[in-house]
């Protein structure tokens, strides 16, 4: 039975996957359903939700369509979240595998660097990178990735350390495989599943950091994101609270969906491990 099927058999995995699917569809459909710039003025300002059928969720202080912003914001959130998490995982995989497999001073140096990255609060680190690199979509992705690779690196290293002494790794050594080949072809695939369970958490954290960065005004100013929508809503919190509430719900649902999927993956992995492995 494939991983996907096992995941969908858990209740949380199923709910999470469905919610994520909805979000992904919204992100993909955004340019079709709401062609044109979501940052352009579309109607009267401060239209409350459900007052006008043309703007089901109302308009903001400049008369921009909130629903269009939500759909386009889904694009930004998912794209940044996935890209940053992927980059962070890649860095973490390489660092963790090299550290765990090489051992000795290489391991020592890499782990001290990992420590150093972990004693700086992650959000502060992301802020620092953004302030040096400047605020664009790419730099936000890089900043988040550079501040999120430590957890996967640690996990992969621990996995590699536990696996590299097993018999098949020793067998690969005996037949004279190159250490790098053993590390990346024999050990890494076995070490991967727990890292995948962690990766969902990293995606969620990346989405959160992106929205927090753009909430503080350090994101890409030319792209509408849920964070920037909430930042603008905050300025009119007293008169139009829905402007900051609505994008937050979208953000909450997305992050919750990712967490549910991660729980589903964990359950599926544990069910799998209940059957003793060879």
């Amino acid at each position: 039975m494939g991983m996907m099927a096992r995941l969908l058999r858990t209740r949380s995995g199923l709910i999470g996957a469905c919610l994520l699917l909805v979000m992904a569809l919204a992100a993909l459909a955004a340019p079709v359903l709401f062609p044109g710039d979501p940052l352009a003025i579309a109607g009267p300002a401060f239209l409350p939700p459900l007052a006008d059928t043309a703007f089901p969720l109302g308009t903001d202080s400049l008369g921009r369509d909130v629903l269009a912003g939500l759909f386009h914001g889904a694009r930004a959130s998912l794209a940044v979240g996935l890209a940053a998490a992927l980059a962070a995982l890649l860095v973490g995989l390489v660092v963790g595998t090299v550290a765990g497999f090489a051992g000795g001073w290489v391991d020592e140096v890499l782990m001290r660097i990992t420590d150093a990255f972990q004693v700086i609060p992650r959000f502060l680190l992301a802020l620092a990178f953004v302030s040096v690199l400047g605020g664009s979509m790419t730099t936000v992705v890089i900043a988040i990735a550079l501040s999120s690779w430590t957890e996967p690196a640690r996990l992969v290293r621990a996995e590699v350390l536990s696996i590299r002494e097993r018999d098949y790794a020793a067998a690969a050594r005996v037949i004279g495989m190159h250490p790098a080949e053993i590390a990346f072809r024999e050990i890494l695939p076995i070490a991967l599943p727990p890292v995948l369970a962690l990766s969902a958490i990293i995606v969620a954290a990346a989405i959160m950091i992106e929205s927090a960065l753009s909430f503080l005004g350090f994101g890409d100013p030319n792209i509408v994101t849920w964070g920037s929508m909430m930042a603008e809503g905050r300025n009119v919190l007293r008169s139009a609270p829905f402007l900051s509430v609505v994008p937050g719900i979208a953000l909450l649902v997305t992050v919750l969906a990712v967490y549910l999927v991660s729980e589903g993956v964990n359950t599926a992995l544990n069910n799998n491990q209940a059957v003793p492995r060879g």
């Binding site: 004693v119 700086i120 609060p121 502060l124 802020l127 937050g248």
Partner: protein, 328 residues
């Protein structure tokens, strides 16, 4: 005691290289920021010609090689000189020293609340695993986990400051109220209710989940079976035996959370306009103030390292098994 002293020595020795890496990283950040201290100074005094800039750079060693500048930077750090804030036109260290206590009060109260409430709810959830109560708490904690902090802050503001008008909208205390003593403390407490509640709600979920998982581990141990065999009441076993032993892993989480909470304070302090450490970080980035930002990074790294050290020692003190091999 010997065991804990050995642990302390080992941890301190481990922390030194980490601190050096952070300093090197901080230096790199400073280097990559556009402009240097002389540029900033010339702007603040209203400009100057190229010869003045060159002589100033020579005077402060800014014209030397990268390596010798790193050496100068390290030398300055040993005198606790974190440099000069461009945006505030003040020494970085005094600025941070002024803002840090506010954040420590905020973080301390939030940690107490989230640790206390989170572990209590974790015990409640784990006392009947799989029950409706357990599943509801699990769902609630997952939702809390997924709530963006600044959104929760805005929601609480809308309800308690805008609609109900129970609590102040922003700030650390009422401006120019000239309150003193207890009246001032009460005023500050009123201002801190919403930020503290927000911060603790965000981090409560982790304590709940870790506590619940740890309780599950302890339930399976032999001494619980023995306690049952002795005929102790279920309540006594739950609180005196299971919960007490399950609290240990939570101490580790306490250390891990310190870094996360310091990061979280950036956005929470910005929403509530509290002049603390976190808001300073936001102001440093907004004002393109590289020396201040780097100073904040160094101080937060030092803070997190010390918290982790304290947590390690606390853990060793609580659990006699930790470090007993090394002391021998």
């Amino acid at each position: 005691m010997k065991r804990i002293a050995a642990l302390l020595r080992r941890r301190l020795a481990g922390a030194v290289p980490v601190l050096f890496i952070v300093i090197a990283f901080a230096f790199l950040l400073l280097e990559s920021a556009p402009g240097d201290a002389v540029d900033a100074y010339l702007v603040s005094v209203g400009g100057g010609d190229a010869t003045l800039a060159a002589s100033l750079r020579a005077q402060y060693g800014l014209d030397q090689s990268t390596l010798s500048r790193l050496w100068l930077y390290l030398a300055a750090l040993t005198h606790f000189d974190l440099g000069w804030s461009v945006a505030f036109d003040r020494p970085v260290l005094s600025l941070i020293g002024e803002r840090l206590p506010t954040t420590l009060v905020l973080m301390g109260s939030a940690t107490l609340l989230s640790f206390g409430l989170g572990s209590f709810l974790g015990i409640v959830a784990a006392s009947h695993p799989g029950s409706l109560r357990d599943r509801l708490l699990s769902m609630a904690s997952l939702t809390l986990y997924a709530i963006p902090g600044f959104w929760l802050a805005l929601l609480l503001l809308i309800v308690f400051a805008v609609d109900l008008r129970w609590l102040p909208f922003s700030g650390f205390e009422t401006v120019a109220s000239h309150k003193t003593g207890l009246a001032r403390l009460a005023d500050i407490a009123r201002h801190l209710v919403l930020p503290v509640v927000t911060l603790s709600l965000i981090y409560l979920a982790l304590y709940l989940r870790v506590m619940r998982a740890a309780m599950g581990e302890v339930w399976r141990q032999d001494f619980i079976l023995f306690a049952r065999a002795r005929g102790l009441s279920a309540r006594r076993i739950l609180w005196r035996h299971v919960a007490r032993n399950a609290l240990l892993p939570l101490v580790t989480v306490l250390g891990l959370q310190s870094a996360a909470m310091l990061g979280g304070s950036i956005i929470i302090e910005s929403v509530f306009a509290i002049p603390g450490f976190g808001r300073l970080a936001q102001e440093a980035v907004a004002g393109r103030d590289a020396p201040l930002l780097v100073g904040l990074i160094l101080v937060s790294a030092l803070f997190v390292l010390s918290i982790n050290l304290v947590v390690d020692l606390l853990y060793a003190w609580l659990d006699p098994r930790v470090g007993s091999v090394e002391a021998r």
